[in-house]
């Protein structure tokens, strides 16, 4: 029998290869779940209609078109929702025997987590495309050059990568898919709505306004609006994170990754339960 020669590559090389194998597996799985794909496309589209027209017709943003203000917010929301899907999918994986099988294989400890997070980013790209088309259809425009727009999307993806790992963490800690769903939906909801994603926080009561200003989602969305040139909107808030939204977003994403990734890697390979 032809015994394949044992790889003598560096640990990094092996890790990259294992992560690739894991990503490949998650992509195949992702393709076979049309209901999940459909849901993650549909919800943002519903949001465009709901907020762009239903609520939007009675929301006024100083100096311009509410839908142009809204779209960067919805891009960020779709990325936030993606981390919900990740949490549920990870929890489902953990409750099935598949992860046990992987843990008896000689694979890099980071492979499954990296595969999950990279595949969820890739699966999120078509959703973002649909959102962009919707946005263009309802009057949102890139007003500061294509280069900056690309930067904006890269920034969103970086943020998505970071909170994807938060989703993985929730999925690993929750006992079941249902629990993961509940645990992550509440912060997602609060982060999304008590922010400048949908409205201008300057009209909120003081305490809520402060929360909304300091909410990281506000920084992410503000960064996006700046890069897209959609600078209509609320007057300057005087809050540091909103005055430096790009730095804040990048810093926050790196911080999350630095803290959460090692925890997730440990949890995945933990000899457990």
């Amino acid at each position: 029998m032809s015994q394949p020669s044992l790889p003598t590559r560096s640990r990094l090389g092996g890790g990259v290869r294992d992560a690739y194998t894991a990503t490949r597996r998650f992509l195949i799985r992702g393709r076979r779940q049309p209901d999940v794909i459909f849901g993650s496309v549909l919800i943002p589209v519903i949001f465009v209609v709901l907020f762009g027209y239903v609520f939007g017709s009675s929301i006024s943003i100083p100096g311009g078109n509410y839908r142009a203000y809204l779209m960067p917010g919805l891009f960020a929301m779709s990325i936030l929702f993606n981390s919900n899907n990740v949490a549920v999918a990870v929890a489902t994986d953990m409750s099935e025997g598949v992860v046990d099988r992987f843990r008896t294989l000689p694979i890099a400890r980071s492979a499954i987590g990296v595969g999950r997070s990279v595949s969820s980013l890739l699966l999120g790209v078509p959703v973002l495309m649909v959102m962009i088309l919707c946005g263009l259809a309802v009057g949102w425009r890139v007003e500061d050059g294509l280069g900056n727009a690309v930067l904006a999307f890269l920034l969103f993806e970086l943020f998505g990568f970071a909170i994807g790992w938060l989703g993985i963490l929730v999925g690993l800690l929750a006992g079941s898919a249902q629990a993961a769903d509940v645990i992550i939906s509440i912060p997602t909801f609060l982060l999304g709505f008590i922010s400048s994603v949908f409205v201008d926080p300057s009209k909120m009561p003081t305490w809520l306004r402060l929360i909304a200003y300091w909410n990281p989602m506000s920084a992410v969305v503000t960064a996006g609006r700046q890069l897209f040139g959609n600078t209509i909107g609320p007057p300057p808030s005087g809050v540091w994170s909103l005055d430096h939204p790009i730095v804040t977003t990048v810093g926050l994403a790196l911080l999350i990754v630095l803290i959460v990734v090692p925890i997730c890697v440990r949890l995945y390979s933990r000899s457990t339960r």
Partner: protein
Amino acid sequence: MSAPAVLAKHLSRSFGATRALVDVSFEVRGGTVCALLGRNGAGKTTAVRILTTLLRADGGSALVDGFDVSTQAHQVRTRIGVTGQSATMDELLTGSENLETIGRFCHLGAGAARRRADELLRQFDLLNAGNRLVKRYSGGMRRRLDLAASLIAEPNMLFLDEPTTGLDPVSRGEMWAYIRGLVSAGTTVLLTTQYLDEADRLADTIVVIDRGLVVARGTPEQLKSSIGRPFLRVTLPDASGAATDQVRQLLGDEAEVQGRSVSAPAADGLTTLSEVVGQLRRLGIATHEVGLELPSLDEVFSSVTDHSAGPEPSPTPVGGEA
């Protein structure tokens, strides 16, 4: 060939107040089959999960192929194949995609992983189902695929947790044949089972676990002979008095009559049998059947795991957790 393939020393593990393993030690010699035998909840799966690096022991130590399962988990993982008690195949992947993924994780390379997957699908009679999603597989097909998955890297140490539970008698026979084939090719196998006949047929040594403790161990023959002597049973064509009395006298003081059959311990086994047959013929007694009955592993099993003697297995509190 001196170091054992598996060496478990004083393994213990608790889940909250449940003591799944109290103190379990055993070893498996390379190239042999060892069966962990025990009732539901005896601790078999816990022991296997510790040996396959999935679970940490609270106490004790275990070496697999000379490597420590807790400190050298990676080395252990490169040497073992594992088929757990519950299915570990991805339902949303096809059989061949599942095997290929595992092959890639075992670092076979894409082409070799693909070829190995095909080879195993053929070997396990799944070639036609290779491109079907696993969620459409029957229970027996899943079990075979799971076994195939544990063989991808051609491990020389195989752990099988209840490999035949849920299989029909034919599939079970096939599974036994697969396992025997692997063993004759030099693989060491540690399997768990609740079925005595399975342990009897497959295992070189049996370790009986009960409530987290080893209660008996040995070869199937040793276990049987430790528990009792063979019995001789003479069955007559009918329950008529005269012949029954004659046979009872022939079989001695310990003979017992049950309907139309008479039985007694046969201390010398086959010698006793041939003597009795000779005498029956000489006396002209017509018989329906004469046979020697060896004690079954069932008896061994119920005698060593007899729970009626003690209290029901109840969670024994450990530590200071409340």
